[in-house]
């Protein structure tokens, strides 16, 4: 019985002899594996990015916007009429079982001043539940509490961007800032959230108690009206249910007849992002499939080279058979050659793929996502390509008639 190491030795030697051809055969596999690794990494990087965005807006988030109004036949956009009230928010919290928590918002933009620094930013008047709804941690100090809302205290919780613009390196907690010239004490600093999927900076914000915002900052014509309401469903499955419950409740409360349009809009953000995530997944499967085609083409290249090699070495095969090589010995020799080509190609392809993914993710600012699993898959797949495309040439070599092979010129 011939030893495996002898066969490997035979196979390697014949590859070394034809360096250029060996390199070209390997190149196809390098590109193929590289493309697969890169594309899979790009795809999963993209969906990771979306997952991060889902996490950053808060999971299972439902947005309730005031409705469009129709004035003299002109249909206005969302929020043109402030149909939502603070008590709507309270009612949703109380009467919709699928909703875990609710945070109404009154918002506006104002110039904020601290010392000689000033900054224009979004001001949101809200309730303590906001941090639950948005899944937003306070890194130092505290968030607005019930007491603040009840008594309308002039406290502010600021986002990272605001902290940076106004305070720079200074500790913001306990400092007094002026919003629309009214002094507010900074009581809390929120963790960094980054951008929304539409590119908005979520950290450029100041939260104040909703009551304070109503009374002192954005004195409204209609008291008790809110700009929008955030609601959080218990889990992903109950979002649909929660949306229905909110809609039914608000239609009741707003006395909307069966044939009338809603005067509010319920938006399910998580669902929108989930859809985006799905399409990214589809995209990455598509990319991976296209890359696999190049690996397939690489495999065909290997087969081609191996077929040429078998024909060229017919005489060698004849000699080996004459001195006692069995068909399976010959088959093994050529199979190992092919396997070696694709494994080496797979290894270099992997390096190329890693480099490619690093470049793409640094350009797109995506999280780097080269999984050991996808690398392993690509590598194993390339070995499989070697066996698959190497088998036919190896088989062809093994069934050669030794007499004819010896006579071959």
């Amino acid at each position: 019985m011939i030893s495996i190491s002898s066969i490997i030795n035979i196979a390697l030697r014949s590859l070394i002899v034809n360096k250029m051809r060996t390199f070209l055969a390997i190149l196809g596999i390098i590109i193929g594996v590289g493309a697969v690794v890169t594309m899979v990494a790009v795809g999963s990087g993209a969906s990771k990015k979306i997952s991060q965005q889902i996490a950053s807006i808060g999971s299972n988030l439902i947005l309730i916007l005031p409705g469009a109004t129709t004035q003299g036949g002109l249909r206005m956009g969302h929020g043109t009429q402030q149909t939502l009230t603070f008590s709507d928010a309270e009612a949703i919290a109380k009467e919709c079982p699928a909703v875990v928590s609710v945070a109404p918002v009154i918002s506006g933009t104002a110039q904020v001043v601290f010392g000689n620094q000033n900054w224009s930013t979004g001001i949101m008047g809200t309730t303590p539940d906001m941090v639950i709804v948005r899944e937003w941690e306070v890194v130092s100090g505290r968030f607005i509490n019930e007491q603040d809302v009840r008594s309308g205290t002039k406290v502010a919780v600021i986002g990272q961007t605001v902290a940076e613009k106004l305070f720079g390196e200074l500790e913001p907690i306990g400092k007094v800032i002026r919003i629309k010239k009214i002094p507010f004490e900074v009581v809390g600093l929120l963790e960094k959230k980054g951008q929304t999927f539409t590119g908005q900076d979520q950290d450029d914000i100041i939260y104040v108690p909703i009551s304070t915002a109503q009374r002192t900052l954005f004195g409204q014509t209609l008291p008790g009206r809110v700009r929008l309401i955030y609601a959080k469903a218990a889990d992903l499955e109950s979002i649909q249910q929660a949306t229905e419950q909110i809609r039914t409740l608000l239609r009741q409360r707003h006395r909307i007849g069966p044939n009338q349009e809603d005067d509010f809009t319920v938006m399910d953000l998580t669902q929108m992002l989930k859809a985006a995530e799905e399409s990214t997944k589809t995209m990455s499967i598509l990319l991976g499939a296209i890359a696999s085609v190049s690996l397939l083409v690489g495999g065909i290249g290997i087969m081609n080279i191996m077929l040429v090699s078998v024909t060229e070495r017919t005489r060698e095969i004849g000699i080996r058979m004459a001195v006692g090589a069995k068909p399976k010995d010959i088959r093994m020799q050529f199979l190992i050659e092919a396997l070696f080509l694709t494994t080496i190609g797979g290894l270099f392809g992997l390096l190329l793929g890693i480099a490619g993914s690093l470049i793409v993710s640094s350009i797109m600012q995506w999280p780097i996502s080269i999984s050991v699993f996808s690398a392993l898959i690509a590598f194993v797949f390339s070995a499989f390509v070697g066996v698959f495309f190497g088998f036919y040439p190896a088989y062809k070599a093994s069934i050669l008639n030794p007499i004819e092979a010896l006579r071959y010129e």
């Binding site: 019985m1 060698e316 004849g318 000699i319 058979m321 001195v323 006692g324 090589a325 030794p402 007499i403």
Partner: protein, 234 residues
Amino acid sequence: MPLIKIEKVTKIYRFGEQELKVLEDVSVEIEKGEFLCIMGPSGSGKSTFMNILGCLDTPTSGRYYLDSIDVSTFGANELAEIRNKKIGFVFQQFNLLPRATAVENVELPLIYAGVPYKERRERAKDMLAQVGLAERVNHYPKQLSGGQQQRVAIARALVNSPSIILADEPTGNLDSKSSLEIMEIFKRLNEEQGLTTIIVTHEPDIASFGRRQIRFLDGKIVCDSAVCTMEEKK
């Protein structure tokens, strides 16, 4: 029982509808230690006969006993094993692997016999020394003369201690001086080691080395004696 016993061996090649009878009812016995030369014009069937003797081919009908084993019905794997263990080939074109050194060429049968590296290197080197090439162990075929290449081929044929050595026109590509050297090696091996040697040739000088001569014509043995006349041309 003789070393080789061939019984009514017929070989027919089929080309579509056409049949070509290359060997017809050939029967022959060869004893251990014989030095046999096979002659005959091209197309007489002597090459086919050699291929069957060398277990490269199987007869269409008839029996071939080698060392009392009926090899006429063997499959490709079994034939390969017989070739490896019992037969040493020497070809007209030497048939060395061009990218392997002398010693690597000689050890080839031992690789397929599963002999470990160290042992097979040793045996291959010994064999090269026996054919007078101890100094050329690491030379490549193209660095050797024709006669030297053929000696490497003989070393390769002998390395796995075969029962028979089969040489197909071993001097066909050599000048007369080298031819003589090669034939002397065969003669020595036969006389000293009792190695059964079968040589195909069409040169009377070469055939005269044989103690027995067999002459083929039209797929049949037409002469089997100590000396066959060379004049029976077609």
